[in-house]
């Protein structure tokens, strides 16, 4: 959709009546929200598809009139999961219809699409199949939003200015009925993600619009057309200068009747941040406690905006030519906090909350660390007479966000040495113990602004040997694979440097003198550098 399409959209808005809140109250809404970062072996994992889905799910259930029991969130699920959720909604909608209720289905997908099919992990769902499933849903209104590469293929022949080719509903003289399809990009475009905003451009702006940014009319309700227009403008603007080129969302509708569709009611909850008319115009970023941009609101001159954010603490930023205006607001439950300009202060660009450290952690990257550790077996003193407590020097190599977001694939090697004594009933033999370990680990981390806890599994190959002071005894060695668990926390000291403290618990298969397997623990600290 290009500028001409926008004109057609405005025209459509003029033609269509408002499907007001009174009617919205009688509309039984269902939602199937799907996000999957993985798209199979021939695609690179996305970083934010799951997060986008969660954000949309939250908005629909909090502001969009979708009850929790009618909402289905599928993150990292398969095509079968998606179809099962649609089937469940169909059954629920059929029952609602029998009760005489009007029904609507809101379908959202964020993830990979390639070769005419949605990619959900290793499974695929042809877009034509999805069309058929949506078409077959026994509801009055169907809204499908696809945020994926070349998703415009779904609406390729259905530009807003053209007659719908995917018409499945008979017309109704009064109420809005039919099918609406929004896609994040045209049929020949990629849909782009942004580390800066922590999501895809399209879903981010769609969500910001649904939170209130798109309420052009100022009536506290965001309609389908308003949301799309807002997302379109902001997505095109943000991606115009990107390396991948501008991204143009598309819109296809077949709403019969005289109703526009209210998607979210941002006034009803009376909760969030209020930008009064006198507030300066510009783009306001609202960053939540996790460092994510919860909303990006483009406020015009002389208009006000309600941003229906969930309760919590937010940092608000507005960018000027030579500085930032930043401030913090606490949104309590059921409270609409007015953002007065006096609550913002000047700040240099280096204090931009949108570019916090947490934001920089979201791309796939390598890090290298070095540190020291201490290792000891649990079964002292018998275990220590075999494997004495040992200091370790280690090097860690980690790859973050490669397999999936916040997963860290790690490799580490360590060497250590210590003096020990084999204190046995008939022999007391001092020895020098040496150890080399090479391991791989997979951990999940929860990035914070400064602290990042993590936990995961580790598999180590241990090579151990000891040389006795008494030359009468030969040197001994032992090797084994040792599975274990690892956990700890990372402290971000600077943009590229972090201090890591971690603990490990391992199982040590020892079977030379029969099966006398034991466990050992390890504490270590490393300094890591992110490339």
């Amino acid at each position: 959709m290009r500028a001409g399409a926008k004109t057609a959209l405005v025209f459509a808005l003029l033609l269509a009546g408002r499907w007001g809140p009174a009617r919205a109250e009688t509309l039984h809404r269902f939602a199937v929200v799907v996000g999957n970062d993985r798209g199979g072996g021939d695609t690179r994992p996305l970083l934010y598809a799951g997060a986008d889905a969660r954000k949309v799910y939250d908005i629909l259930t909090r502001l969009g009139g979708v009850q929790a029991e009618d909402a289905n969130l599928i993150v990292d699920g398969s095509a079968a999961d998606l179809q099962a959720a649609l089937g469940k909604v169909e059954r629920q909608a059929a029952e609602a219809t029998r009760r005489g209720e009007k029904t609507a289905l809101f379908f959202y997908y964020s993830g990979h699409a390639k070769d005419g099919a949605l990619r959900l992990g290793d499974s695929r769902l042809p877009i034509e199949t999805l069309k058929a499933l949506v078409a077959a849903a026994p509801v009055d209104i169907r809204i499908a939003i696809l945020d994926s590469c070349r998703s415009g293929a779904m609406t390729r022949s259905k530009g807003a200015r053209k007659a719908p080719a995917f018409q499945i509903e008979s017309e109704s003289p009064r109420d809005a009925k039919g099918l609406v399809i929004l896609t994040s990009s045209a049929s020949d475009e990629d849909s782009q993600e942004s580390d800066l905003i922590g999501g895809s451009y399209f879903s981010h702006h769609l969500a910001s619009g649904l939170l209130g940014g798109a309420d052009r009319s100022g009536d506290g309700r965001v309609t389908l057309f308003e949301a799309y227009a807002y997302a379109y403008d902001r997505t095109v603007a943000d991606t115009a200068d990107s390396a991948a080129g501008a991204q143009h969302p598309t819109f296809s509708y077949d709403l019969a009747g005289n109703g526009d569709l209210v998607l979210t009611d941002v006034a009803a909850r009376h909760e969030g941040i209020y930008l009064p008319r006198q507030a300066p115009s510009g783009v306001y970023f609202m960053v939540d406690g996790q460092g994510f941009v919860a909303a990006e609101i483009n406020k015009g001159d002389g208009v006000d905006r309600r941003v229906a954010l969930a309760p919590g603490r937010y940092r608000v930023k507005r960018r000027l030519g030579d500085r930032l205006r930043v401030g913090e607001l606490d949104v309590a439950r059921g409270q609409l906090v007015t953002l007065e300009e006096e609550r913002l202060r000047d700040a240099p660009f280096t204090d931009d909350p949108v570019k916090g450290a947490a934001r920089m952690d979201l791309s796939s990257r390598w890090s290298l660390g070095a540190g020291i550790g201490y290792q000891a077996v649990f079964e002292a003193p018998d275990g220590a007479s075999l494997f004495p407590p040992t200091g370790l020097l280690g090097i860690d190599l980690a790859l973050r966000n490669f397999l999936r977001r916040d997963w860290v694939l790690g490799f580490d090697v360590a060497v250590g040495s210590a003096d020990g004594v084999a204190a046995l009933p008939t022999v007391t033999a001092p020895f020098r113990f040496s150890e080399f370990s090479a391991a791989t680990s997979l951990v999940v981390e929860w990035p914070g602004r400064y602290l990042t806890p993590f936990v995961g599994g580790r598999l180590a190959l241990l090579l151990m040997s000891r040389r006795f002071q008494d030359d009468e005894f030969p040197s001994q060695f032992f090797s084994t694979l040792s599975p274990g668990a690892v956990g700890g926390v990372s402290y971000q000291m600077s943009r590229s440097t972090s201090l890591v403290a971690r603990g490990r618990l391992h199982y040590l298969l020892y079977n030379v003198d029969g099966n006398r397997s034991l466990g050992y623990w390890e504490l270590a600290t490393t300094v890591n550098y992110d490339f």
Partner: protein
């Protein structure tokens, strides 16, 4: 002096030789690497505390050797006192016997046991390098976990006649109550069964019928008693040799040596005993007594200084060799444990 039992050769306990190597094909090499990695992953190695205890049960030859101050370079051996020469000769024979008997057993310390059970470790079977066609194995047992006593047994087998089964060659035990190489032990070597089975001793025949060693390394003086029983033949009339060694930490010591056999032509069987003692400096005194047989009752006493030159000699049957006074003899400590 006397005769040389050490010419009988050593026990057939040479360690296993290196494995033969062939050029592995790449496919086999990959398979081999895979097997090695898998082996390593499942836990492998010789890392064992228990092995140390089993190894410790086998006596080390250098624990039991007799220590006698070396010859003085300033004094030609020919000028050495007669019984000092005897003491050196006997000590050398004694040490060679210890080395030949225990050296092979001692070798196993360098090797990981071939198999383990909760109460034993076994090295072998390995092919004997000196006796082609014969395998050997050594088993060390510790049947009572509450006890500090370990027993061991060396067996040999004729690979060309497996029906004979394993033949016991050496048996022994060690009470390791005081730690590494501290304890008391005994060992018996028998050759009768091996001789009957055609075991190829180095010199063609067994050097003895039975050799028994009892020793204690608990504290000084270290004691080692060795008894050799053999059948006299045309070249060697000796039927029994008994060594008794006591060694102190300061290198002083005593060696008793008793020889029995028809040493002097005639019907009588002679028993000759030599008791020799020495100081750390090398100065010492020896008494040779003909206890029975021809010449019974004869006693020779000889003393020597640190250079092993005679300072006193009383040889009743050869008075021309008498020298000095008894007062020239060194003052020796009591060698009792």
């Amino acid at each position: 002096m006397i005769f040389n039992l050490t010419e009988g050769g050593s026990l057939p306990l040479a360690p296993p030789g290196p494995l033969s190597r062939v050029a592995a094909k790449p496919r086999r090499a990959r398979l081999l690497i895979g097997l090695i990695l898998g082996w390593m992953a499942l836990g492998c190695g010789n890392y064992s505390n228990d092995d140390l205890e089993y190894m410790n049960a086998v006596p080390a030859g250098n624990q039991l050797v007799a220590t006698l101050p070396a010859y003085s370079a300033a004094l030609p051996v020919a000028s050495e006192a007669e019984l000092a020469q005897t003491t050196h000769s006997v000590t050398t024979q004694f040490n060679q016997m210890i080395d030949n008997t225990l050296g092979g057993l001692d070798t196993i310390r360098s090797y990981e046991p071939s198999s383990r059970t909760p109460t034993s470790r076994t090295w072998g079977p390995f092919a004997s390098t000196n006796q082609v066609g014969w395998d050997w194995r050594l088993t060390v047992s510790h049947d009572d976990p509450q006890s500090t006593v370990f027993s061991y047994e060396l067996d040999v087998e004729n690979t060309a006649d497996l029906a004979q089964g394993w033949l016991t060659f050496v048996t022994g035990s060690f009470d390791a109550s005081e730690g590494v190489r501290k304890g008391t032990g005994s060992m018996t070597v028998t050759t009768d069964a091996l001789t009957k089975a055609g075991f190829p001793f180095d010199q063609g025949t067994a050097p003895f019928d039975m050799l028994t060693v009892n020793y204690s390394t608990l504290s000084y003086p270290i004691t080692v008693d060795m008894t050799i029983d053999r059948t006299a033949d045309a070249t060697n009339p000796v039927t029994s040799v008994v060594y008794s060694y006591l060694g102190q930490a300061d290198a002083s010591g005593q060696m008793s040596f008793t020889l029995t056999g028809n040493l002097v032509p005639g019907p009588a069987i002679e028993t000759v005993a030599v008791v020799s003692a020495w100081l750390p400096t090398g100065a010492g005194e020896a008494t040779e007594t003909v206890e029975q047989g021809d010449g019974a009752g004869l006693v020779q006493t000889e003393c020597w200084d640190a250079s092993f030159a005679a300072t006193y000699n009383s040889k009743p049957w050869m008075t021309s060799e008498n020298v000095g006074q008894a007062s020239a003899c060194p003052s020796l400590p009591s060698f009792s444990n």
